[in-house]
């Protein structure tokens, strides 16, 4: 889709800026796109993602909102019925839990209930928190909760490039799309074309080629999986890493194709493991008769507990690249020597980067 010469190799931009570009450019093309959410025009601009929107498009298209998540979601649905295309955003996933009726009962069912006469083209941006002691109610990865619901689309891009392209696709989509942004991805950079482009919803992507085993992940854990693959290469293991990018509709094909080659699968869930994404992936794989002979399968995710505030316990909840290597070792029957001492510097702390000093 991209013309080669349109890529400026030096154009490394931050994830948040990529989101911002997607919003800026989409709003220019379609006057019916409006931005709603508490703080979208405040000095911090949702971590910079809504920069310049109000200056460019004015206060009839960018709306700061009352602290009323449930109603806001209903308003967005209503506006979409009136031919607007609202993009909503919440600074934490948890705030959207107040609007589950509007999301699950209403938005997700609308098209089906009226047999396709009307749809609800809204995007709900949800930010997943992590680190700095945010604790039980500000650091949940609840993607699977939404991915469970027919009628919703659920995406969770892991790079700035995908974030821009997939946000554009989400805005253009005629269905309700839940767009997950991990707070720790916000500070990552990748090459992002300046132009308006889309990355399709419903396509997973091989982010690193390999042939010894397949690691499937999504959102921030894709980054840890890539780090793990780097470490594994030191032990002579060549892992293939697949980023799901979209959780619903799920694109399992690249996973199946990869497994034909590797016969070994590790699913690294960004959230809790029980009833989660790994369960879905592994079931899809295991129920394919042709494939399921001699497959070695493993999965991992966040510890089966709410996330505590104190960093000493929180760090036990989140698996990182070294833990991924250990789980890979279980599949391959290898114990990696000096893994935790040698690659200590690869470990994630309770902050996304050294510059982060809190408080939110």
């Amino acid at each position: 889709m991209l013309k080669k010469n349109s890529i400026n190799k030096n154009r490394f931009i931050q994830y948040t800026q990529a989101i911002n570009e997607a919003l800026m450019q989409s709003m220019k093309l379609d006057k019916k796109i409006v931005i709603l959410g508490l703080g979208v025009d405040d000095p911090k601009r949702i971590f910079g993602t809504t920069n310049n929107l109000i200056e460019t498009y004015g206060k009839n298209r960018v709306f700061d909102m009352p602290t009323s998540e449930n109603a806001i979601t209903g308003f967005a649905i209503g506006m979409s019925l009136g031919k607007y295309r609202p993009v909503l955003c919440h600074q934490r996933v948890e705030f959207a839990l107040l609007s589950m009726d509007q999301i699950i009962n209403q938005a997700a069912k609308w098209s089906y209930m009226n047999d396709g006469q009307m749809s609800v083209p809204i995007v709900i941006r949800l930010i997943i928190g992590r680190g700095w002691g945010q604790g039980p109610q500000h650091s949940q990865s609840l993607e699977s909760l939404f991915a469970n619901i027919p009628g919703l689309k659920v995406v969770c891009p892991s790079s700035a490039y995908d974030a821009k392209g997939m946000l554009i696709s989400s805005i253009n989509d005629n269905n309700p799309v839940i767009f997950f942004e991990h707070r720790w991805l916000h500070s990552t950079y990748s090459i992002v074309p300046k132009k308006h482009y889309s990355v399709p919803i419903g396509r997973s992507k091989i982010v690193k080629k390999g042939n010894n085993l397949t690691i499937v992940s999504s959102s921030y854990m894709t980054i840890e999986s890539l780090k793990a693959s780097e470490i594994l290469s030191n032990y002579g293991i060549n892992a293939e890493v697949i980023d799901l990018r979209t959780l619903r509709p799920l694109d399992i094909k690249p996973v199946l194709k990869s497994l034909k080659k590797t016969k070994k699968l590790l699913v690294v869930d960004n959230g809790w493991t029980q009833y989660g994404i790994s369960a879905e992936i592994i079931t899809r794989v295991a129920t394919i008769k042709k494939l399921n002979k001699n497959l070695a399968i493993n999965r991992m995710g966040i510890a089966d507990t709410p996330i505590p505030s104190t960093r000493n316990l929180a760090k036990l909840c989140y698996p990182d690249c070294l833990d991924i290597c250990t789980e890979v070792g279980k599949i391959l029957n290898i114990k990696f020597k000096n893994l935790y001492s040698k690659f200590k510097s690869f470990r994630a702390q309770d902050v996304p980067n050294k510059n982060f000093t809190g408080p939110f």
Partner: protein, 323 residues
């Protein structure tokens, strides 16, 4: 109603203690040992002090994300609060909650959670249980004006009115929800207590920076809630002096007009009250020094306690997921 000299000193002491505690948190936050979001309430001391001074130990308080003062004014342990913010096992929630989840059941601080509006129905439910069991205690729910934009606020007020529950709603109106001013969130000139009244809960609006007035008015109100089992709503206008979340001043962001900031700084509940008490000769500089020294000592002890305390053991991670 009159207020005696000792009560005046108590009110002042309560306010200055809370301020000095949060100033210490702000001062030490940059050491990066308190690694959790903190929502400081500096500037809003009079409300927690004035209301809680009227409560008995058995009465119960619930709060939201900005809860330090409610916890302290209700008699929550300072050592445990500081330890909680440091993420230590000696914290009031064993380090699992952090600043946004304070609790001290013995002191009657039942819960504080950072999801806006969430504790309002929970407090109403607690008051309901208290009433069914004829327990003769009242529940006080502290929340910011942002909470009144959530649906659950209306649902809770409605139910409290319907069942005549012994609950006091205390709305701290500091005009902002994070950086968003009231002008973007609610119609002009709304009185929140009018909203409560229209739903069947009597209300009043007070100057949230006048500690004596709050204390005296709340005394009457609390007595009547106890006597009649009818809910009541107090709206108090006030101002937070620091940023929404974190230890700093964020006036450079200019989301609040300078004139407004100056107006409220002049109305600082502590400076104003100190002046008054000095003038009335209830306080003098010697007494003040004694107060400051005593509080400093307590604060230093508490911080030392927190810093020396251990982090929770790894085995605590999986504890108490279920009762």
């Amino acid at each position: 109603m009159k207020i005696n000299k000792n009560k005046k000193i108590e009110l002042f002491y309560s306010m200055i203690r809370m301020r000095m505690i949060e100033e210490k948190i702000a001062e030490k936050y940059s050491e990066q040992e308190m690694r959790c979001p903190v929502h400081l309430s500096i500037g809003q001391e009079a409300i927690a002090s004035g209301i809680c001074m009227n409560l008995q130990k058995k009465d119960q308080v619930l709060s939201a994300h900005r809860s330090h003062f409610h916890y302290l004014a209700k008699g929550g342990s300072l050592k445990k609060m500081i330890s909680e913010i440091y993420g230590k096992e000696t914290g009031c929630a064993g380090g699992k909650g952090g600043s946004m989840h304070l609790i001290d059941i013995q002191a009657g601080l039942i819960a504080a959670v950072p999801i806006v509006g969430s504790t309002i129905p929970i407090g109403v439910g607690l008051a309901w249980a208290n009433k069914l069991d004829n327990l003769k205690k009242i529940v006080v729910i502290f929340f910011g004006e942002g909470s009144t934009e959530e649906g659950v606020f209306y649902e809770s007020i409605n139910f409290a009115a319907l069942h005549n529950l012994p609950v006091l709603f205390v709305c701290e109106n500091n005009f902002y929800s994070v950086y968003s001013g009231l002008n973007k969130r609610q119609p002009k000139k709304r009185k929140l207590f009018n909203v409560a009244e229209s739903l069947g809960v009597k209300g009043i609006s007070l100057d949230g920076n006048n500690v004596e007035e709050i204390y005296l008015k709340a005394k009457k109100i609390i007595k009547s809630v106890q006597r009649t089992n009818h809910p009541f709503f107090i709206e108090l206008s006030t101002y937070r002096f620091l940023e929404h979340c974190g230890p700093n001043n964020d006036d450079d962001l200019e989301y609040r007009p300078t004139s407004e900031i100056l107006f409220w700084k002049k109305k600082c509940p502590i400076v104003k009250y100190k002046k008054k008490l000095l003038k009335e000769k209830v306080l003098n500089s010697k007494k003040l020094d004694k107060i400051y020294n005593e509080i400093n000592l307590e604060i230093n002890k508490s911080f030392k306690f927190a810093q020396k305390s251990k982090f929770p053991k790894n085995s605590n991670l999986m504890k108490n997921i279920y009762a």
